[in-house]
Amino acid sequence: MSLARRLPTFYAEGDNGGRRPSNLPLGVLGLSLVFLVPGMGAAALVEWGSSTSHEEWSLGVSALIALFLGVVLVLGTRFPSNPRPSAVFPAVVWTWLGCSVIGALPYLLSGAFSWSNWDSALFESISGFTCTGSTVMGDIEAHGRGLLMWRQITQWYGGMGMVVLAVSVLPMLGVGGLELMNAEAPGPDSDRLAPRISGTAKRLWLLYVLFTLLIGLALFLVPGVGLYDAAAHALTTASTGGFSPYSDSIGHFDSLAVELVIAGGLIVCAMSFAMHYRAFTGDFGAYRRAFDQMLFLKIIAVVTAAATLLLWLKGGSAFGLSLRDGFFNTVTLASSGGFANIRPGGLGDFAQWLPSGQILLALLMLIGGGVGSTAGGMKVFRFNIVMGHTARALQLAIRRRAVLPVKLGGRIIPERIVGRVLAFVTLFIITCGAGTLIVSALGTDPVTAASGALSAMSNMGPALGEAGPASNFTVFSRPARMVLGGLMITGRLELTAVFLGVAMIVRRGIQPLRRRR
């Protein structure tokens, strides 16, 4: 406790009268670090049990570091009962940064990346936690199974989110918990599944675990897929992450059944978990009411058809093959999974598709999955609102005095939310453009830079151009990778939390200077 009191208490709220400092960011970070320990432990067990390289100590040591830091932070701080927004956003940012740094330790300790190459380890970790799935590991199979399993597990944690996990055991947070959850994935719908927000978080995580188990079981039932493969891919399918312990990813199996199971899993997990939960408890109308989630399915259907036709008629491939690869790549890009499906004779390398097909896929990346899911991107919900607003503006140009609401499936969307969504889209595009400018300034060609930035922002994984699914992100220079890592966190936290969190952190940081003056 005395150590904890010496920790910087930037966000301490009020005079504590000698009690533990009330510090939300450090507390949530600590709790998240504690939650990482079982994952590291499981990966260490896999390494111990199956790998020949025996690097379990690196995972074990990382787990101990995470446990120590986490316990110190949790015991040293007190969770405020009603945190202010100025503490909520930094909490999310610190949590994600801290987890990414600690999550990079196993890569460094095991020697997968040398210490001088620390930024690559951090990139791999960020790409994991943000469910992006871009990799800078050259020869993936050369590493121990446990380390690769840790890679998969980071994505699984990031899928539903560490902050949501932390909120699920913090009933004292009250409304602040909802704000925390919204800050991590600020979907405009704050669906409450239980009277307490921690109960909602718990239910979401349980459903997430259940989906992971189901996908794993389905994969395990496919002949030729072992337990390890099934577990590894189930973790990254449920989180729509896209990491795979094989450098040729799904193409390693060259199996239609595996593709179908993973595509099915991606579609389910790229739709609102709250909606699934309602359906699970018997309210099947939840599917019908969720207009935007159904629109997501329609988008997949339309783009699959378009991609198939393009590959078949313009690309000159066989119809069956076009349909198979058109469908899988559409699903994996729409759900921001980003699994590569490079197999001999296949069309999985979409960076080699016709330019028109690639533009379709980039559009899918931009739109993203359903709100309230593990998928990334702009989200269909926002896409829908933006279109509604634009159609309204066209109407208003000739009927200026009309009062028209923006509707989503018959439901009127409040203007507040419309405004927020429009601002989000502006920020998304500007951030993406700024990222592209920096990355291309660091010596990457525009197609690779722009698609890389978009892919990072929408947590996709592979990009177009040189960084396609058959390649990896080592084509970017090291500073460019750091920029992309920043974009990944920005995209995963849906911009607001990162911008406001960083602004708060900077403001707190310079406040002492201001006071002195």
């Binding site: 291309s440 010596g443 406001l500």
Partner: protein, 514 residues
């Protein structure tokens, strides 16, 4: 051109009947085109093209005179739908006349080439479909340049006089220089002021070129394409044909001036330099341009004054969407090329004939996004978005956001279309942006070294559509296509009139029907 005067929507009894606005706008367009065609005909007197130009000019003037007897009044503009239809039909008329002129004068035998050249001309885009420009007779060169000049003026009329009435873009010509109300087309005085300012701008460009040592003919044509931010050149090598630094500096000054709002030019003519300084957008424009020039200069690593000149040329050409080219920027570093593309997309001041998103929209759009961030931290805050000292209304912001989305959709669809037609990925995306901003050259397959004569029919079709959409600021075209054409099909031209039962359901307000 037939004029359906009799059957046209009759206004109130006792008032003189005037043709529907789309008809009279087309007639005015034909009249202007005719005048320029006559000028082109006299320029190339004795050549083969001369007769064709004189005939076309004569017919256009004769056809245009009857319907343009009466100048469009403010009240004519009232139904927004008819004004939008008028804008579209005026442009279509001009493009068709020009296409006919190219075919009749034998500049090209291909309809596609003629149409593309006309669209590029009247949208003031720097794409050309003609392979060998230098072999064209003088009359045709003058005609090419004047299509851009007319297109530039028409777009200014659209921006200053028509659009602000119907879309809440009244901040379009902002701050002090907009103190005189924009959007008032009172008896044409506004149009005349606009024309005066535009002519002064052209004279300025032409004077600079002449002073830099250009011949009279070249000075006039290049002044036409510079002042209109068009970008057609009389020479295959563009301005580098002259090999003179002073000509290039003249072009830099001309393009920078062409990207300035025409209302600012008007105030400058009135000797109100102080008022200019109060224009927030002008300050943003100048500062951004200066910074961009310095960045490009430093980044490109070109040495000394030549490097500065090339940087200034490229930046002013991109920001004003002129599309005149000097250095082949396909050989630049990737980052610089992308920066240039970003400048093309942003564009110049909103009251100028240039293209792109425009600064006076980009600044409030950024502030709007920032405001939403602040509101999440302080939910009860009241934050007014301002452009300089002038607040921007919520309606404008809402419209602005929609406009931004529409542009995004147009770029995406255009890029998809270009890619389908066979362009590479880089070329199709950058080409869509560049065509929508009425700039011209882009990257990849559409890099400055290439020109439209290399492109296939599909690509040209998509580019033409994008140029047209971008020049007409999307709204008039979209509304004409989605709302008006289906109604016109049912009701004929009368359906555009105020009193047609088709529009009875619309809300009405004291004499002004919208």
């Amino acid at each position: 051109m037939s004029l359906p005067l009799e059957g046209a929507g009759a206004l109130e009894a006792g008032r003189r009947r005037s043709p529907p606005l789309p008809v009279s706008a087309s007639a005015w367009a034909a009249l202007t085109c005719g005048a320029f065609a006559l000028a082109a005909g006299f320029t190339s007197l004795g050549g083969g093209a001369s007769v064709a130009f004189l005939i076309i000019g004569g017919v256009c003037v004769m056809a245009g005179i009857p319907a343009s007897r009466r100048f469009p009044q403010q009240s004519d503009l009232q139904p927004a739908r008819s004004a939008f239809a008028a804008v579209v039909s005026a442009w279509v008329t001009m493009i068709l006349i020009s296409t006919l002129a190219y075919l009749a004068t034998g500049a090209t035998s291909s309809f596609q080439d003629a149409l593309f050249e006309s669209v590029a001309g009247f949208t003031a885009t720097g794409f050309t479909a003609f392979e060998d420009v230098e072999s064209l007779p003088r009359g045709l060169l003058l005609w090419r340049a004047s299509t851009q000049w007319m297109g530039g003026y028409a777009s200014l009329v659209l921006l200053i006089c028509v659009l602000p009435i119907y879309t809440p873009m009244n901040f379009i010509a902002s701050a002090r220089e907009g103190a005189k109300p924009v959007g008032a087309l009172a008896g044409g005085s506004r149009l005349r002021e606009l024309l005066g300012a535009y002519c002064a701008l052209t004279l300025f460009c032409g004077g600079l070129y002449a002073a830099a040592g250009m011949g009279a003919f070249d000075a006039v044509t290049y002044a036409f394409t510079t002042a209109s931010t068009g970008g057609f050149a009389n020479h295959a090598a563009g301005l580098s044909h002259f090999g003179s630094a002073s000509v290039e500096w003249a072009a830099v000054a001309g393009m920078a001036a062409a990207g300035v709002s025409i209302t600012a030019v008007w105030w400058a003519l009135r000797g109100r330099a102080r008022a200019l300084w109060h224009s927030f957008e002008l300050r943003v424009y100048l500062v951004l341009m200066l910074v961009a020039v310095l960045v490009v200069w430093g980044w490109s690593g070109a040495d000394g004054v030549t490097g500065l000149r090339h940087a200034a040329f490229s930046v002013t050409s991109a920001m004003s969407s002129t599309g005149l080219r000097l250095a082949d920027w396909a050989s630049w570093s990737w980052g610089l090329q992308f920066l240039l593309l970003a400048m093309i997309a942003t564009g110049g001041m909103s009251g100028s004939a240039g293209g792109g998103f425009r600064l006076s929209r980009a600044v409030p759009a950024l502030q709007y996004a920032y405001r939403e961030l602040v509101i999440q931290l302080h939910p009860n805050t009241v934050h007014v978005v301002k452009l300089g000292r002038k607040s921007v209304s919520e309606g404008s912001l809402s419209f602005l956001n929609a406009f931004q989305v529409l542009l995004g959709i147009a770029v995406l669809l255009g890029a998809f279309g270009l890619a389908l037609a066979g362009a590479d990925l880089l070329g199709s995306v950058s080409g869509a942006i560049s065509a929508l901003a009425t700039m011209g050259p882009a990257m990849g397959d559409l890099a400055p070294g290439f020109d439209a004569h290399h492109l296939g029919g599909g690509e040209r079709g998509v580019l033409m559509g994008l140029m047209f959409l971008g020049r007409l600021m999307l709204y008039p075209v979209l509304i004409t296509l989605w709302v008006l054409l289906p109604r016109l099909w049912r009701t004929g031209l009368e359906g555009l009139g105020n009193r047609h039962p088709e529009w009875k359901f619309l809300p009405q307000r004291g004499g002004r029907r919208l």
